[in-house]
C-alpha cells in the first residue's frame, strides 16, 4: 500500500504515532487541552470534565465491544459500582489520612468493578451476541435495583443518593472544577494510551482474534474462558475508574444517573465514534455530549428563553440522540474515525490521488 510514509527502521514502523500528521494532531490536541482551562468559562470546563469521565467509560466499552466483539448493554452498572465503591470505601476508611485515601480507594473501586465484570461475564462463555447483550442488560437492571434498596441504604444512600467526598491527592485538595479538569484529562489520556498499547500486546491480539472468529481463535490455542473474562474485567475496570472520577466530580451521586440511559449513551458514543479504534471513543463522546448541548443552546435562542417551550428541549435531545445512532449505523457504520482516517490519508498522500 502506498501510504506516503517512508519508514527506515523497525522502530519507526512500530511507533504509535507513525507519521507526521498523526503527531501534529495528537500533540496539537494535547496543547489545546492544556491551554483550555486558562481561557474557557466555568461551564465549558464542566462539560469538558463530564466528557472526560464518559470517555474513560467508553474506552472500557471499546475494549469489550469494539475489540473483543462481545456486545454489552449494561456497562452503566460498572460505572455505578465504581462510583458507589469509591464512596463506600472512603466512608469505611475515613480514619486514614485524607491525602493518601484516593490512592487506596480508587484502585479498590476498580478492583471491585473488575470483579463484578468477571461475574457478569460468566454467561459470555456459553452465550454470545444477542443473548449476551440481554444478559448484561439484565445484570445492570439488577445492580441498579440493589443500589436503590432500603436494605443497603446505610451504605449506598438508597434512592435519594449519597454525598461524595472531596478528593485530596497528597494534600492537594481538588475542590474546584478546574483542578478536577487537570486530573480527569490526564487520566483520560492515560487510559486511551493504555488501551492503544494493550492491542499491541499478546492479550490484545487474542481479543482481536476472538472478535474476528471465536472458534478459530480457540483452535489457535487462545483460551476463550480466560480471555473473554479478562476482557470483561479490563473493560469493567475502566468503567470503574470512570465511576470513581464521577463520584469525586459530582457532589452527590444518585442511582438514576447510572440507569439504562447511561448504558445506551456509552454504546452510542462508541458506535458514532467508531468501534475497535483508539480514537473512536474520543470522537464519539465529543459528538454525543456536544450535540444535545448545541440543541439546548439553539432551542433557547430560537424560543427566546420562554419556559413554555423549554420543556420540549429534553424530548428533542432524546430524538436527536437516537437519530444520530441510527444515522451512523445506516450511513457510516465505521464511525467518525473512518471519516478522519480518510482526511488524514489524503493529507498524507497530498498532492497525489486520495484513494
Amino acid at each position: 500500500m502506498i501510504n506516503g510514509n517512508l519508514k527506515a527502521t523497525y522502530g519507526a514502523d512500530e511507533r504509535v504515532l507513525n507519521n507526521r500528521n498523526k503527531q501534529m494532531f495528537v500533540f496539537g490536541s494535547i496543547i489545546l487541552l492544556a491551554l483550555f482551562p486558562l481561557f474557557a468559562d466555568d461551564y465549558s470546563v464542566l462539560m469538558a470534565c463530564k466528557m472526560g469521565i464518559l470517555l474513560i467509560a467508553v474506552v472500557g466499552v471499546n475494549v469489550l465491544t469494539g475489540y473483543t466483539g462481545l456486545v454489552s448493554l449494561g456497562h452503566g452498572a460498572f460505572v455505578a459500582i465504581g462510583a458507589y465503591s469509591t464512596v463506600i470505601f472512603s466512608n469505611l476508611f475515613s480514619g486514614l489520612p485524607t491525602g493518601i485515601l484516593p490512592f487506596i480507594v480508587v484502585p479498590m473501586a476498580i478492583a471491585v468493578s473488575a470483579l463484578t465484570g468477571i461475574i457478569v461475564g460468566l454467561p459470555s462463555l456459553r452465550v454470545k451476541g444477542l443473548y449476551l447483550a440481554v444478559a448484561t442488560l439484565a445484570a445492570s437492571f439488577i445492580v441498579k435495583f440493589l443500589i436503590e434498596q432500603d436494605l443497603f441504604a446505610p451504605w449506598t444512600g438508597g434512592i435519594v443518593g449519597i454525598d461524595t467526598p472531596v478528593p485530596s491527592l497528597l494534600g492537594w485538595e481538588l475542590d474546584n472544577k478546574r483542578e478536577m479538569y487537570v486530573l480527569i484529562t490526564a487520566l483520560a489520556l492515560g487510559t486511551m494510551l493504555a488501551a492503544q498499547n494493550l492491542f499491541r500486546t499478546r492479550v490484545g491480539r487474542a481479543f482481536i482474534a476472538i472478535r474476528d472468529r471465536d472458534y478459530s481463535a480457540e483452535i489457535l490455542g487462545i483460551s476463550l474462558l480466560r480471555y473473554k473474562l479478562m476482557s470483561f474485567a479490563i473493560s469493567a475496570g475502566y468503567c470503574g475508574l470512570s465511576g470513581a472520577l464521577g463520584a469525586y466530580f459530582f457532589a452527590r451521586i444518585l442511582p438514576e444517573q447510572f440507569g439504562l440511559d447511561l448504558s445506551l449513551e456509552l454504546v452510542a458514543a462508541l458506535i458514532v465514534g467508531g468501534m475497535g479504534r483508539t480514537l473512536g471513543p474520543l470522537f464519539g463522546v465529543v459528538v454525543v455530549m456536544l450535540v444535545p448541548e448545541l440543541i439546548k443552546i439553539s432551542m433557547a435562542a430560537a424560543t427566546g428563553g420562554s419556559l413554555e417551550l423549554a420543556r420540549y428541549t429534553g424530548p428533542v435531545q432524546e430524538i436527536v440522540f437516537g437519530l444520530l445512532l441510527v444515522f451512523f449505523l445506516l450511513k457510516e457504520p465505521l464511525g467518525i474515525n473512518q471519516i478522519t482516517d480518510r482526511i488524514l490519508r489524503s493529507a498524507n498522500r497530498w498532492p497525489f490521488a486520495r484513494g
Binding site: L130, F145, S216, Y312, I319
Partner: protein, 334 residues
C-alpha cells in the same frame, strides 16, 4: 393455600399479557432475525394511541356525543333503580363506553400498524443483508427516538382510560378458599390468549405463515423459491406492532399511561430469551412462569422485588440452557 391460589391466578393473568407482548418480539425475530429492543416502546405508542382515540378524540367538541358516552333511552331506563355495585350496573357502565373503546382499539391497531411499517421501511429495510449487530443497534436507537417523540406529542397528563371489559369484581370459591378477581382482568387474559393462539395457528397453518417459517429457516433459499422476503419482513413488523397496540391498550387500563411503559419491553425481552427466541411455546411457558414467579415474589417479598424477577430468571436459565428453554440451537460453521 387460599392466598397461594389467588396469587397464582393473578400471576397467570399477567403472564398472559407477557405472552401477548412476547409474540411480537418472537414474530419479528422469526422473520427477520432481528431482536427488537424497542418493542416496549412500540407498545407504549399503542397505549398512547388508545388513549388518543378513546379519551382525547371523544372529548373534543366536534366529536358526536354518542362517541363519548353512549346512553340510549332503554339503557337509562334499565339503569334506574339499580343499586351501586350490582353486576348489571357495572355492565351498563361499560356499555356506555363501548363506542369509544371500539374507536380506541381500532385507532390504536391501525396507527401502530402504520408506525411499524414506517419503522420497517425507513430503518430496517436499508440494513437488509447487513450484520445483525447493526440491525439490533438500530432498534436500540429507535428506543430514544420513540420515547422522545412520545413525550413530545402527548404532553397532556394521562387521564383515566376506559377498561376494555366491564370491571366488575368477581368472587368465587375454589378448593375451599375465596378467590377475588376483576372482570376486566379475566377478559384481558382471554383476549391475550386468543391473539396469541391465532398468531401461532397462523404461522403454523396458513400460506403466509409457511412463508414466514421458510424465511426464518433460510432467507436466500426462501427468496429463490419465490417468496418475497421484504414483504415478509414488513408483514412481521406490522403484525408485531398491531398486537403490540392491543397489549398497550390492556397495559394502559391496568397500569395507567406513562413513558415508563416502554421499560416493560425489557422484562418481556428477558422472558423471550428465557423461553427461546424462536419458540412460541417456550415463550408462552416462560411468560406464564415469570408471571407466577412475580406474583409469588410480590406476595412474599413485597412489590419492589417483583420488578427484577424476569432478569434474575433469564440469567439463571441462560447459564444452564444458553438458547432458552425451547430455543433451537444455532449451528455454527467456521
Amino acid at each position: 393455600m387460599g392466598q397461594f391460589i389467588q396469587f397464582a391466578i393473578n400471576g397467570l393473568m399477567s403472564g398472559a399479557i407477557y405472552a401477548l407482548i412476547a409474540v411480537g418480539i418472537v414474530s419479528v425475530y422469526k422473520a427477520t432475525k432481528v431482536v427488537n429492543f424497542a418493542h416496549g416502546y412500540l407498545i407504549m405508542f399503542g397505549a398512547y394511541f388508545y388513549f388518543t382515540f378513546a379519551v382525547i378524540i371523544p372529548g373534543q367538541d366536534w366529536a358526536p356525543a354518542w362517541l363519548a358516552s353512549w346512553k340510549p333511552d332503554w339503557m337509562v331506563e334499565m339503569r334506574e333503580g339499580l343499586s351501586m355495585f350490582s353486576l348489571l350496573g357495572a355492565v351498563l357502565d361499560w356499555a356506555a363506553n363501548v363506542p369509544r373503546i371500539i374507536c380506541g382499539l381500532i385507532g390504536a391497531v391501525v396507527c401502530n400498524a402504520i408506525l411499524g411499517r414506517v419503522v420497517e421501511r425507513t430503518l430496517m429495510r436499508p440494513l437488509m443483508g447487513q450484520s445483525v449487530f447493526a440491525m439490533i443497534m438500530v432498534t436500540v436507537g429507535l428506543i430514544s427516538i420513540l420515547s422522545g417523540s412520545a413525550s413530545l406529542i402527548w404532553t397532556a397528563d394521562a387521564a383515566f382510560v376506559p377498561h376494555i371489559a366491564p370491571n366488575t369484581p368477581i368472587r368465587f370459591e375454589l378448593f375451599g378458599s375465596m378467590i377475588f378477581l376483576f372482570g376486566a382482568d379475566i377478559v384481558n387474559m382471554i383476549i391475550a390468549l386468543i391473539i396469541f393462539g391465532s398468531i401461532v395457528a397462523m404461522v403454523k397453518f396458513t400460506k403466509g405463515g409457511v412463508a414466514i417459517r421458510a424465511t426464518a429457516e433460510d432467507q436466500s433459499t426462501a427468496y429463490s423459491m419465490g417468496i418475497s422476503v421484504p414483504k415478509i419482513f414488513s408483514r412481521a413488523w406490522v403484525l408485531a406492532s398491531a398486537t403490540g397496540a392491543v397489549a398497550g391498550a390492556i397495559l394502559a387500563t391496568r397500569n395507567g399511561i406513562s413513558p415508563s411503559l416502554g421499560l416493560f419491553g425489557f422484562s418481556v425481552l428477558a422472558i423471550v430469551l428465557m423461553g427461546g427466541l424462536d419458540s412460541y411455546v417456550g415463550c408462552f411457558i416462560a411468560a406464564m412462569a415469570v408471571g407466577v414467579l412475580e406474583a409469588m415474589t410480590q406476595w412474599k417479598m413485597g412489590g419492589e422485588w417483583a420488578e427484577i424477577v424476569p432478569y434474575v430468571a433469564v440469567l439463571v436459565v441462560i447459564i444452564f440452557r444458553p438458547h432458552g428453554l425451547m430455543g433451537q440451537k444455532e449451528v455454527e460453521r467456521i
